[in-house]
Symmetry: C2
Subunit: 369 residues, 2 copies
């Protein structure tokens, strides 16, 4: 294995102030995809409409030969095939997932990476197996510190060749409501969502939910892999070690009303009263308040909240909009959670554009009936 040069795998960089979307960003945007925002109409997002971010290639794993290995600093390494896993007791949760890089393309200056606008989100009902009993079966030894989840996806990133891996402190791995999901919305996982098994870590941004899981390794030292130590950090400059990206910050979105223009995606509605609808979520605390602005954020009105959802699931909201006067409007919506976290109107910048939760802006033209 020889070094991969910087032309093949460049260092992180920021776009120039006037630099439009590059070919590198477009390549990522045509592979990965967001949730078309009209799917905010649905409680559960079907696969194919749920956002997907894949760092390398999607591996097509043979479910008959696939195994999950649990090893490292344990008494008895465990190896399970899919049939054995499917025979274990299950948990089912509805979980709202958002990419840590959602909104990146709207930051200035923009880091060159997956150029999400607003759409890297979705909610699915995941069914799987709890981690705790599996770790008990393996027997975690004294002195264990971290647990590492390894996917079958392999590639190179900023010069570092790797399998996709994420580490968690052991105490969090055994206390958090995380689980190993083999079922999405009642069906086996599709390839792009990690078939046959992925981690689901409710409340956390997508990078934690390791797909194509093949190995869980207990370490007697802290994990220092690329995705924890370099990629998913909130930092101000390259040298800054930064803080890890963890839980999803509060966010609300409005289902764009009316119909769109093909190219600009500007919405057109008839003059009159409309009921705006959407969803709001936070990985930090339950959603307590949603406010709507139809004048670009100058004034705000409280929306009506839908029924209290499951603990990890987005909450529906709605709000009447009396749009009697034809003209141009900008809709925005802002969530506040029970811990008092809310959304900024303008994004607070960080070097990798992670954990953005600035307010969405939807241009709408109201036309005379």
């Amino acid at each position: 294995m020889t070094t991969i040069d910087e032309e093949t795998s460049p260092r992180a960089r920021l776009a120039e102030p006037d630099e439009a979307i590059s070919l590198d960003e477009l390549r990522l945007a045509t592979r990965n995809h967001g949730m078309p925002l009209e799917m905010l109409d649905l409680d559960l997002t079907p696969p194919g409409l749920h956002y997907v971010l894949v760092h390398y290639d999607i591996p097509l794993l043979d479910p008959t030969s696939w195994r999950l290995e649990i090893d490292g600093h344990v008494e008895r390494p465990v190896s399970l095939d899919l049939a054995a896993l499917l025979g274990l007791p299950t948990v089912t949760h509805r979980v709202t997932l958002e990419c840590a890089g959602n909104g990146r393309a709207r930051t200035t200056p923009r880091p060159i990476s997956q150029p999400w606008l607003d759409e890297a989100v979705g909610t699915a009902e995941w069914t799987g197996v709890e981690l705790g009993p599996l770790l008990e079966r393996a027997g975690v030894r004294d002195g264990a510190i971290d647990v590492v989840f390894t996917g079958a996806d392999h590639g190179v990133e900023r010069g570092v060749e790797q399998d996709y891996q994420r580490g968690l402190p052991l105490d969090l791995a055994v206390s958090a409501p995380l689980f190993l999901a083999h079922t999405m919305n009642g069906q086996p996982l599709p390839p792009q969502h990690g078939a046959p098994l992925r981690l689901v870590m409710p409340g956390w941004y997508g990078m934690a939910h390791v797909k194509w899981l093949v190995r869980i390794t207990v370490l007697d030292r802290p994990f220092d892999g690329f995705q924890n130590e370099s990629a998913y950090r909130i930092k101000q400059d390259q040298g800054d070690p930064g803080e890890p990206v963890t839980r999803i910050l509060p966010r609300a979105m409005v289902r764009p009303p009316g119909f769109p223009d093909f190219q600009t995606r500007t919405r057109v509605v008839e003059a009159g009263t409309h009921r705006l609808t959407g969803r709001a979520w936070s990985g930090l605390a339950p959603i307590e308040r949603v406010e709507v602005s139809v004048d670009g954020g100058a004034t705000w009105a409280d929306a009506d909240l839908g029924p209290v959802p499951g603990p990890y699931e987005w909450r529906a909201w709605s709000s009447a909009w009396q749009a009697d006067e034809p003209g141009r409007y900008e809709l925005s919506v802002r969530a506040t959670d029970a811990a008092g976290n809310t959304q900024p109107l303008e994004q607070r910048w960080n070097r990798q554009a992670m954990a953005n939760n600035h307010v969405q802006r939807v241009p709408v033209v109201v036309r005379r009936r």
Copy 2:
């Protein structure tokens, strides 16, 4: 209904020679998605990995109240609910679908629209109902000229508000192997592929395969709708009426070998002998020849063709690549069909970048073992 202004729905334009991808193009790229090219490994592309292009919003139609109307220049208008349609005799075909705009982002100057690179393709097994017997039931009247297929998707495009509609000459509608599909890869259509019913027109680019089908109208005059007369035309300038986009031109693609860099998607393989694989298709005639180049198109070698596929389905190919010398390579592949159609190395330009079939170029780094 009042006019929609040009700011909301701009006229078609070409990018400036040095203009990178615009926000308008990025918005489309994050909604629609291609087939990740590693899925060339699969005979059938699962939904969620099959390319999707949606002009407006994805309608969520209630299958219990949905109806298909057959009307216009007929003796007896027909109205069918989904249960009635599902009770009719079915046909099943594997069909390779490609977007007419595939490759657009690689043309110069580039029209501002969905900025596909190479990935707007997929093959699914579609099951549905033939059109001919339904038209017989309605009784097409003398003097009928065109048949118009109307989707439930509504929007505005270049200032023209519309339901998505495509017309076909009646003789083609009754003689072509087209059908109304309610099933994709053995499952009900997912929302983004036209649930509950779409047109499938084997051999034609994607624009013909109207999704969310709600109405089939027989006309006693030629159809002059936007998608036929303006959008899907091969023309040299705005004023040129141009020629309609119809059948898929021949194309081959190679499954990018090895593993990728996250950002550049450059591939890395070890020095040694590799078997390159991929698929080739043409809507004009069966695939007869596939050639591979590993030196950027300077020299070509014949690939081995896989078994003869169904009449509308891509054909597998493979080719040994002796990559003993570390360094940079560019892989290309070129299909030729039984009618003698082949692929250009450089794209022949047209004003809307339709029916592009220039040769794919895949940068690969071979490294020492």
